[in-house]
């Protein structure tokens, strides 16, 4: 019973990192914004788990792919912790993107062989 969510997290972990990095490509955002953005863009298909989002953000920061800073939000006059992409983060995004593409293509070839032949 304990194991299942663990597995799902593992499966999603790499993908989540990529989605966060991609989101930050538009500019700095705080955790709430990032989560909301991913949720909205996928038409609520991907429900953002906060228990995955924050560890992921902190992990990305540990690895030096993003940096964080407390800044005042333009519309709310309060400080939020904004995350921003670093140069290495940009490179990482390219790497993850191409890996994801390869993965998706590979899966596609297995799943829909006929479509590929046409």
């Amino acid at each position: 019973m304990e194991k299942q969510p663990q597995q799902r997290a593992n499966l999603l972990q790499g993908t989540l990192d990529m989605l966060i990095l991609r989101t930050l490509l538009y500019g700095a955002a705080h955790g709430h914004q990032i989560g909301k953005h991913i949720q909205r863009t996928t038409n609520d298909f991907l429900q953002m788990q906060h228990g995955s989002l924050y560890p992921a953000l902190h992990r990305l920061e540990e690895r030096g792919w993003v940096i964080s800073k407390w800044e005042t939000a333009p519309d709310r006059n309060r400080e939020f912790k904004y995350y921003r992409l670093t140069a290495t983060g940009r490179k990482q995004l390219v790497v993850e993107e191409s890996q994801w593409k390869q993965m998706a293509e590979a899966v596609a070839r297995v799943m829909w062989p006929a479509a590929e032949e046409n």
């Binding site: 709430h32 228990g51 924050y54 560890p55 953000l57 902190h58 939020f80």
Partner: protein, 864 residues
């Protein structure tokens, strides 16, 4: 952010989550929900914030440090709860680690650390035959004609302690000087700390009047208080002016490397071209191999060169070059002893581990419930394992702190034992390598003794652990064989150490028992070379007469004589033959030379076997005579009366007496042939040593001797007054060192093994209380119970001893070369050790056995 900023980072995370949560709440409100509804909706959307915090923290890579700190906290709390056993553990780990680190620092200094020279691996010591020196002329030819070495250098093997007298500035003092070839320091790669090395010109003067000298660092520090202005000053050595041209660096300690036990004060140039330098085999040679050259190739080349030289120069002494790496020459002799010590330390550490392993298992047994609760609350197996290991490593670190203190004190003590005849002893200290060793040993110890208890915790079933019946009928029977194994292994290792120590103690006693051929007790020696230049035999003999008459008139003196070398030193030897005997070149017998005055044999207590001793009337004008020892008499005139025979030395010397052999090479070596020439009939000797025998304690003599000799030489330094017992002790110091350390380890091992078996038996008695109670209720007598416990103890002890005995046989090769007068299979030693161990085991088990026999069946059966 670093790990120690954990609080700050935690607060930051909390603030981040709070800000985002509030935003969510605001957005919900903006959608038109009431404040309360918005709050709950936000909470729902967010999920469990505490859990999010926990999960986020886990992403921080240094989270392990945090849990390590927590484990440490648990560990220290646990240690405080069991203060008694904690102190015991720290104490024995401390003693073990202290011993191990001290021995390691000695091994490090003597065997591991490179010699303080440039590229020491390229340096080769070249001896002549087994361990003799080489003639200077041969050295020059070897140096010029070999292809293997970039250069050869040498120093005089025949320097004598205190051969130069420093006068003129301050208190007069006898200095020990070593003549060296000009290239010695450059070859070794030693740069003077101040000034410069010798020039070519300085090495072409007279042997007896060196123009320049280099000071050793310690002498410079002691005599001149490290005054840099001493360079360039002229000092007076043996009434000759000598310029100080430099000071050697502190790292270059010639004495501790090449002449353990004899501090060297100054170095003087050795003019090889001077014909007045001492003849014969006088030079120790060191060479630096060319890059790529091997010692085997060099040896082959030198064998050929030596043959050529022997045939080209039949007038010279023959040479048999033997090449060994310099490092091996310096420390090769002590290697077996150090290896034995290192193994002993390893065995002691294993016993410590076995002992503590049992202790920890017992402690963990009482904490089974705690561990079970931790496991029930979700601690993983790995987490528990880590916690138990953290505890044991923390314990061993506490012990290591104590051990390091002991090691620092121990090494400091050792480094100042300048009466010890061990090379490089002064450089023994706790350095970085030793610290690394100590750290590794500490962690290894902690893991080793913590592993079994940790696995025991893991094996424990959750339900069993939670039930109070932690120690039921067969509570930890499962681990019974393991505990027994721990006790057995302690006995086996202790047996090993005791056998080794006993063999070496026996050897040491045998060495002490050796009749040296003279009586060192109540005899003392003092260097008394005349401070003037001796110009004639008459002048020399008048000096000798004067000194002896005055010395004999001093209070408490029963005999006095003069010699050129002290017993246990000096290896000047000549080829000898009786008149009319013809030997092939290189095959005639060799004999050590001693130049002595009348009274010498009485002063040293060397017994006269036949004929007469030397007297005051054996002078330059009388017939040349000689006294030989029994070995020489047997060698030259087997089966004949040696007295009255003539030796070919100095144009014929008549043998007037035969004296007993003296162990000049130390008690462990037989003395060989010796001949004693009357000092009044020769001028060829390197030093004058006055030897006195006294009825007073020899230490109290110095002042009296100085008073009676003052009229002859007011500058006589009496600091070098030494008793012959000191001399003998110094010769035996390496063996004494080994015996003391090994006995210490063996004693410690015995103590630990007895504590170990005591702990095991008490534990098993208390564990079996119910069983024993039941048996007694069924009719077993208390005597039977007691016998049972003792029988079990004896069984364990005997298994250990049997294993240990087998082990000793297997390892006996390692110790064989260190034994003297005994063998590795000495039955008395083995029997003694076995009896001792069994006795110790029974004594240790007596108290628990008695406790077992006093168990009240009613009480025992009611406790559950």
């Amino acid at each position: 952010m670093r790990w120690w900023q954990i609080r700050k980072r935690d607060a930051d995370l909390e603030r981040e989550l709070k800000a985002d949560l509030e935003l969510e709440e605001e957005e919900q409100r903006e959608r038109g929900l009431s404040a309360e509804e918005a709050h709950y909706a936000a909470q729902r959307a967010f999920g469990n914030t505490t859990l999010i915090r926990e999960q986020t923290r886990a992403a921080w890579s240094w989270v392990w440090i945090e849990s390590l700190l927590r484990d440490l906290g648990y560990g220290i709390r646990g240690m405080r709860r069991n203060l008694g056993s904690t102190i015991f553990a720290i104490l024995i780990v401390g003693l073990g680690i202290g011993g191990a680190s001290t021995v390691f620092s000695v091994v490090n200094a003597l065997l591991l650390r490179p010699l303080p020279f440039r590229d020491p691996a390229q340096l080769v010591f070249i001896s002549n035959g087994e361990n003799h020196s080489t003639q200077a002329e041969q050295y020059s030819d070897l140096r010029d004609h070999n292809q293997s070495f970039s250069d050869l250098a040498g120093w005089s093997a025949f320097y004598r302690a205190g051969d130069k007298e420093l006068t003129g500035t301050g208190e007069p003092e006898r200095l020990t000087s070593v003549p060296v070839t000009q290239n010695l320091f450059p070859l070794l790669g030693v740069e003077p700390a101040l000034g410069r090395s010798f020039t070519r010109e300085e090495c072409q003067g007279k042997y007896s009047a060196p123009p320049a000298m280099l000071l050793s660092y310690s002498f410079w520090h002691r005599r001149f208080a490290s005054d840099p202005n001493v360079v360039g000053k002229k000092l007076t050595l043996n009434d000759q002016p000598v310029t100080v041209i430099g000071v050697l660096p502190a790292s270059f300690d010639f004495a501790s490397i090449f002449a353990p036990g004899t501090p060297i004060d100054v170095f003087i140039p050795w003019p090889l071209t001077d014909d007045t330098k001492p003849h014969g085999n006088t030079m120790s040679i060191v060479g630096r191999l060319k890059p790529g050259a091997t010692i085997g190739g060099a040896q082959a080349e030198f064998n050929v060169l030596a043959k050529q030289l022997d045939s080209q120069h039949p007038e010279r002494n023959p040479i048999h070059p033997r090449l060994v790496p310099l490092e091996e020459h310096v420390s090769g002799q002590v290697r077996p002893a150090l290896v034995v010590l290192m193994c002993a330390v390893g065995a002691v550490m294993l016993i410590v581990c076995a002992n503590l392993s049992h202790l920890q298992m017992a402690r963990m047994g009482t904490r089974q419930k705690e561990m079970a609760i931790r496991a029930a609350l979700g601690a993983g197996r790995f987490r528990l394992l880590r916690q138990v290991l953290t505890e044991s490593v923390t314990l061993s670190c506490g012990g290591a702190a104590l051990g390091l203190l002991l090691a620092v004190a121990g090494t400091r003590e050792l480094a100042h034992l300048n009466t010890f005849n061990l090379p490089l002893l002064e450089s023994v200290r706790v350095d970085r390598t030793t610290l690394v060793f100590t750290l590794l040993a500490t962690v290894a110890t902690g893991v080793l003794f913590g592993l079994a208890p940790a696995l025991q915790v893991l094996a424990c079933k959750l339900r069993e652990g939670l039930q109070d019946a932690g120690r039921g009928w067969s509570g930890s029977r499962r681990h019974g064989w393991f505990r027994d194994g721990l006790a057995v292994s302690q006995f086996a290792l202790a047996c090993l150490l005791l056998v080794g120590a006993a063999l070496l103690i026996q050897s040491f006693l045998r060495v002490l028992d050796v009749n040296l051929g003279f009586q060192p007790e109540r005899a003392a020696a003092l260097r008394i070379d005349p401070s003037f230049q001796v110009s004639s035999a008459a002048q020399q003999n008048a000096f000798i007469d004067d000194v002896l008459h005055r010395a004999r008139s001093a209070p408490g003196i029963t005999a006095a004589g003069i010699t050129d070398v002290l017993p246990l030193g000096g290896d000047r030897s000549w080829q000898v033959s009786g008149k009319g005997q013809i030997y092939e070149k290189d095959h005639s017998p060799e004999s050590f030379i001693r130049v002595v005055s009348d009274g010498y044999f009485d002063a040293l207590g060397i017994p006269l076997k036949s004929g007469r001793v030397l007297t005051e009337s054996d002078r330059a004008s009388s017939e040349p005579v000689v006294v030989v020892n029994e070995t020489l008499a047997r060698t030259l005139w087997p089966g004949q009366d040696p007295v009255g025979q003539v030796m070919t030395q100095d144009g014929g010397r008549r043998v007037v007496g035969v004296v007993g052999d003296v162990h000049h090479g130390g008690p462990e070596r037989s003395g060989g042939s010796e001949m004693y020439l009357p000092m009044r009939q020769t001028g060829d000797y390197p030093a004058m040593q006055l030897i006195v025998r006294t009825v007073l304690p020899p230490d109290s003599l110095a002042a009296g001797i100085r008073a009676v000799l003052r009229p002859i030489d007011p500058n006589l330094p009496v600091k070098d007054f030494q008793t012959l017992q000191e001399l003998v002790d110094k010769g035996m110091s390496p063996r004494r060192f080994l015996v003391i350390l090994l006995s210490g380890f063996a004693g410690f091992a015995l103590l630990l093994a007895s504590l170990g078996i005591y702990a095991l038996i008490s534990y098993s008695v208390s564990e079996r209380t119910k069983e024993i109670g039941m048996r007694m209720a069924l009719g077993a007598s208390s005597g039977l119970v007691q016998r049972d416990v003792l029988a079990k103890t004896l069984r364990l002890a005997l298994s250990g001893v049997a294993l240990g005995t087998l082990g000793s046989f297997a390892l006996s090769k390692g110790i064989e070369s260190l034994l003297f007068g005994t063998t590795t299979t000495n039955p008395a030693v083995f029997l003694g050790v076995i009896l001792l161990l069994c006795a110790v085991a029974l004594v240790a088990a007596y108290a628990p056995a008695r406790r077992a026999s006093r168990i009240d069946p009613m009480e025992a059966l009611r406790t559950e």
